[in-house]
Each structure stands twice: as structure tokens, then as C-alpha cells.
Symmetry: C2
Subunit: 419 residues, 2 copies
């Protein structure tokens, strides 16, 4: 069996692992690393940091994981960094409510929760997990001073958020200047070949590149991910536009949700957003995705089928193929039953002269839902008729004046205004 | 015997120890501390830092020591901080040639040299010496992060030199922001009541005040010294004006210099500078100095006598009272001998007809240095005549044509142009 490291050319690997990425520093160096890895059959070390304060992941967090997965598929090794050292310090100023200090127990527990979640996507065999307290708990104040000496204040103030806060006169504590250095130094300790992160992490990732250069190491390649838009994002002026996926906005898919929930939520997105999600989250190759896209474009594939395939893939990832299939089937059943045509005809029907009620079967026939009262009776006894969403079992049912939604069979709907 | 802590009132102590100071933060708190010390007979802890890279002191460095001495005279305790921790790190960027890292041996050797020098002024019984490596060598990176969290970037950038460098686009390394915090934290560890420093240290000293407050300690009083002007400073428009005392400018008095050198150099300063030096360097009380000043003003004291008294005091400080007296006597002797009137008369004297030389005695008589050749002979045999600065012993000496400076007795000088 060929090593997975030889299964795809460096160019093919490049194509897949950079799919949908935002920043790449530096392409030529990355190609060199991929070529050397290919020639020597030596896996690259792909670093990704994890902040152990937020162990409950949604699909937005998995953009990173799916990219790591693509690296693993080519035989490379993922090295997960749990930033427990700084997490345990938290924000010593106490100003940031989002960075409460964690105890060692919390960090370990969060890391375990995290691992349980990421191994639904990643291959544990090709994944190492390390904790930066391993080196920082041994670091002295002197070591940190020497590290701090390697970076200028002015450069740190170029980081977008620091620049903004400084300009606006909002306080930045000096320790905040140390954290990017620690994050960068992690890369030195891990001898990372590539580091992945969100595009908001670009600055910090580049600090790692610089520190590695200064240490005489080959600088890591920096590859950043877009922030995933939420389920409610839409194409506006040719661009996917919408708030990022987040729990507080409710536009998310939690990876701990049921297969039914995952499938159903993903079926609700627009076709445009579907292609974006395909790029960032699917294990399908770029070629497969392109073929699917072409199929939808020439009408040979229904967009709904493409979306269902995606929703099944993601549901299967976090549960099982069977669970995903069951979710799809259940979705179809419920969806078909519940799906009301967007335009339902309304008919006004008058009660027979001197009567205060009218039989359901007569109403159905009068409204055209059945050719006759006897066909209407047959439909009711077959269980194919529902009134205001509830199945009707009694063919002798009478209706008083009012509004009713009657469904006969799968596709026939009628709104009745009985007067 | 009364405790020295009760020998002067808090107000009197305040008057003496703040003499000639630049900044005082905060007067009311300082008075409180002095009062409590007086009432409870508890000495205050006076902190002063010493950078162990520069062990060879001149009088400029001793402004601090003389102020500490005044505190000791009132019974307070001096706590000297040797900043060996940061000295051993130096400037890790290697950019600053003035902060090369020192080895532990160098630091210890410098500290010993320093102690030998400061104990010429201070009372070793009331002086403690501590090394900040004692606490910082045990500090972890985490401890330093927590310390760094307590100070904002913007405030640090208010320090004059940082502000200037930042504005001019010159690099500041992040570790430089940590050093003032370490210096401030020293005060916390030492529980300093008062910290002294040069006026350029004000910012750092105030950081110490803040950190102490945050730790729930009574904040230290900050008292800064002016930078001592060099020997060549003068009164210009009512202010002492001139470069600071420094070795490289040559306008200094090294405290390791001989009593003769110290005395002689101090006798060269202007009267105005003398009063400045009195204020900053003399052990005399403010009242004594005021009396001396009044004496000079009403003509009862010759300014030269006041200057000699000061020069003797300083020479005695670094040597002994006897050495200072000897230096004063030698200075008088040499000065009297060597002091040439600013205007010396020049006389042209012609050789006797047909002669190529002329006898010294005849020249002296011809020039009016003696009433006759025989008086000239007596002066020569008494050893009272010098030619071009060298004593003449041979009365039969002949002079060839040329220029000569002849001195007869203490006060008679004549330039001779013999043709």
C-alpha cells in the first residue's frame, strides 16, 4: 500500500489544504515543505491552538478541524496545542469577563471534552495533543524577559485590536503584549511546519513565524480560515453575507446536536451558502465538489439533493452513516407532510340553506379536493385527510362556519372559508 | 542618651532631608510617616537603588548618598538595592552598549567596590544591602505576567524617554516595559517608606508607589535629586548652568581621587556653585550653611575660606580629617608659589656691549627685582629665586639671549627679554 504521503502530488495537496483559506504566508515556502515531505515521506507537523475556555463546539469551530482533516488525509500529523498555561492565568486584570482563569481540573476536563469532539473529525492516530504549561510552567521570569526583548512595542501596537484600543484610549495591560509572544514561542517549542488559525489570529501566527526564524528554525507556514457565516447568511451582490455562526445568535449547528437537528438545520440554508459550506466543511475533494456544482448547473442534480448529500455527510461525521440516513428519511417524511405549498387556494363555501353545519365529505367535494362525496369518504378512511394539520378518522364529521385548512393526499391543499 | 529618632522634630527632619530635592510625592504622607516614626521611635526604611554596572563613583553619584546620610543622622535605616537580577540579564537585544550583561562574579565584585565607596559616607550599622535576584530568581514567568497585568501600556508610554522614542519611531523592546515594574516591585518586597533617586527616575519611583498601594501597603514617599552640575558650571541669569558632572566631560571629582585632588578641584569652582554643592553635599545643617552664607554676605567670612571649609569637609569624608588638612596646607603652599599674577611686566634688557651672556644677579637688579646685585645674591642663596619655575641655587649663573620668567620671593615676578 502506498503511503498516504505519496498518494497525492504536492500540487494536489496544496490545492486541497488551502481550499477556502484567507491568508497564506508564504506560498513558495509551503510548496517547498510539501515537496520535501513528499520526497522524503516525512509528515509535516500541523499546529493548531485551542483555547480551553470554550469546549462546546459548533460548526464554525470545525472549519479549522476540517482543514486539519484534509492534512491528515494526506498523511500529515496534527499537533493540537491546548493553551492551558495562559488559560490558568486568565486575565489577571479581571477586566475581561470572557477570560476567567481556569483551574487545572477545568482545563483537563475541557481538553477531554474537546478531544471527544475533535476526534469525530480527526484521526486520533495522527493527532498529538500537547499543553503549553509543559514549557511555560518551567519558564522563569528571566526567560520571559528574554522573550519579551525580542519584540518591539511599536510592532505589537500594529495588531488591529491593540491599535484600535490604543487610539480610542482604552486600556491595554502590558501582559497582553506578552501573550502573542507566548503563542509564537509555542511554535518554536513544537517545531511546527504549518500553523492554522482563524483570520483574526493572523498577527499572532506571524509572530510565531518570526520567533522561529530568530531561533534558526524553518519558519512555520501560516494559513488562516475565514470565520464561518451562520445558517441565515445569504448571497448579496455576489458575496455570502451574514453574521458569523454563533450560539448567541442562534444561527449555528452544534456538533453535539442530534443527527436530526444537524440534518434539518443544514437543509435550511440557501443554495449559495451550501457551496460555501461545501468548500470549508466537506471531506469531498475539490474535483468532486466541482462535479456536483456542474450537475446542479446543468440540471442533472437537484439542488435539494446536493444539499441533502452535504447535510448527510455532516450528520454522519458527528454521528454515523445510519443515523444520518435515518435523519434524512425522517426529514423527508416530516417535511413532505408539513410542507405547505407557498400558495394555497382559498374557497368560500356556503352552508346549505337553513343548516348550521356541513359534513366534511361534502365540503371536500364542494371544494374540489375529491371528485365526489364517496371519493372523499375513501380518502378519509385511508387516513389521507387532515384538518388543520390533524388527521381525520371520522367520515361523518361536521364543520361549523369558520376557516379550515384541509389536506387530501400528499399534495392537495385547500383553505375553506365556510359561511 | 536620646535616640537619634527623637533628636530632631519631624519638621526639622523634613527640612534637612528634603534640602535641594527636586520632586516630593507626597508631602502630607511624608510628614505623617516622620511623625509616626518620631512618636513610635521606629526608623523609616529609605530605599535607594544601585545599578551595579557603574561601580566607580564621582561626586555626582554622592548627592544621593549625602541625602541618605542625612536620613541616617536622624536615626533612619538605609536599604540599598543592588539591581543584580536585571544587570545579569542586561539588554537582551544587545542594542544598548551601556547595558552589557554582567556575570554574578562581576555583580558581586562591583557591589563590594560600591560598598567600600558608600561606607565612606554612610553608617554601615544603619545600612542594609539587598540584591533583587533574591526574589526575582524565584519568580516564574507566571508571576511576571501577573505583574505585567497591573500596568497599562499607555501609561508606560508616558515615560519621557519612551514617549520620545515612540514618537521618533525608534524601537522600544517589550522587555523595557517590564523593567520599571520590576523596579517598582522591589519597593513592595522591601516595604520601603521612602525611595530616593535621580530626577530622571521619577517615573519608575512612582510605579513603585502604585504597586505598593495595590498591594495594600502604605505607598512609599518619592524624593528625587537634581543631577549635579560639573565643576565648570556657573551662575547664568540667576541659575546654576552647566553640563552635569561626568567622567567623560572631565568636570568631575572622583571619590577615589586623592585628598589633594579633591581639595584642589573643589577650590576651582565658582562661589555660586559652592553654595549649590553645600546644599547637596555638605553634612552641615541648613542653619549652619545659612550662617556661613550670611558671614560671606556681611564680609566677616572670606568666600575662599567658605570654599576651603567645604573642600576640606569633602576631602575628609573620603579620606581623613588629617589628610584633608594636609591637602589644604599643600594647596596653599603650591597655590601661593605657583599663582602668577594675571599681569606680569615684561622688560627688555640689553647684553653689555661685546658680551654674549649676562649674569642672573645683574639681570635681577637691572629688572628691579632687587635693589642691588648683592640683594639679588642674598635672595638666591635663601632659595627665594626661581627661573622659569625652577629654583636657582647658583648665584654665578649666566643667561644667554632669550625670554625668561624670574620670580623673586613670593610675590615678585618679571618677564625678561634679554637681547
Amino acid at each position: 500500500m502506498t503511503s498516504p504521503l505519496r498518494a497525492a502530488t504536492p500540487e494536489e495537496q496544496f490545492q486541497e489544504v488551502t481550499r477556502g483559506a484567507v491568508d497564506l504566508h508564504v506560498k513558495s515556502e509551503f510548496m517547498e515543505k510539501l515537496k520535501r515531505s513528499y520526497e522524503t515521506e516525512t509528515p509535516l507537523v500541523i499546529k493548531a491552538g485551542f483555547d480551553p475556555t470554550a469546549p462546546d463546539l459548533h460548526l464554525g469551530h470545525t472549519v479549522l478541524l476540517f482543514r486539519l482533516k484534509r492534512f491528515q488525509d494526506f498523511g500529515h500529523k496534527v499537533s493540537f496545542l491546548i493553551g492551558d498555561f495562559t488559560a490558568m492565568i486568565g486575565d489577571p486584570t479581571g477586566k475581561s469577563a470572557t477570560r476567567p482563569p481556569l483551574s487545572r481540573e477545568q482545563v483537563v476536563a475541557n481538553a477531554e471534552t474537546y478531544k471527544a469532539q475533535v476526534f469525530k473529525i480527526l484521526d486520533p492516530e495522527k493527532t498529538a495533543v500537547c499543553f503549553n504549561s509543559e514549557w511555560y510552567s518551567k519558564m522563569s521570569a528571566e526567560g520571559l524577559i528574554r522573550l519579551a526583548a525580542r519584540y518591539p512595542v511599536a510592532r505589537m501596537l500594529e495588531r488591529d485590536d491593540f491599535k484600535k484600543r490604543f487610539k480610542e484610549g482604552r486600556s491595554i495591560s502590558i501582559h497582553e503584549f506578552l501573550y502573542p509572544l507566548l503563542q509564537g514561542y509555542d511554535s518554536v517549542m513544537m517545531k511546527a511546519d504549518v500553523e492554522l488559525g482563524g483570520k483574526d489570529q493572523l498577527f499572532n501566527l506571524l509572530v510565531g513565524r518570526e520567533l522561529m526564524k530568530e531561533e534558526g528554525l524553518a519558519p512555520q507556514i501560516v494559513l488562516t480560515n475565514p470565520i464561518l457565516e451562520g445558517l441565515d447568511a445569504k448571497l448579496v451582490d455576489g458575496e455570502i453575507t451574514g453574521a458569523k455562526m454563533s450560539k448567541s445568535l442562534g444561527n449555528y449547528v452544534g456538533i453535539a446536536e442530534s443527527a436530526d437537528q444537524i440534518f434539518g438545520k443544514l437543509m435550511s440554508i440557501t443554495d449559495d451558502l451550501m457551496w460555501r459550506y461545501y468548500d470549508l466543511l466537506s471531506a469531498k475533494s475539490s474535483a468532486e465538489i466541482a462535479a456536483l456544482k456542474a450537475g446542479v448547473a446543468d440540471g442533472s442534480v437537484h439542488p435539494r439533493a446536493a444539499k441533502a448529500a452535504f447535510a448527510r455527510e455532516i450528520a454522519a461525521r458527528f454521528h454515523s452513516a445510519e443515523a444520518a440516513e435515518a435523519a434524512a428519511a425522517e426529514f423527508d417524511r416530516v417535511h413532505a407532510q408539513r410542507a405547505l405549498p407557498t400558495e394555497i387556494e382559498t374557497r368560500e363555501i356556503h352552508l346549505p340553506e337553513g343548516k348550521s353545519e356541513m359534513g366534511l365529505l361534502s365540503v371536500m367535494a364542494a371544494g374540489g379536493l375529491s371528485a365526489s362525496n364517496s371519493e372523499a369518504r375513501r380518502l378519509v378512511t385511508q387516513g389521507a385527510v387532515s384538518l388543520n394539520g390533524s388527521k381525520v378518522s371520522n367520515p361523518a364529521m361536521n364543520l361549523s362556519p369558520g376557516e379550515y385548512l384541509i389536506q387530501a393526499g400528499k399534495r392537495k391543499f385547500l383553505k375553506i372559508h365556510l359561511t
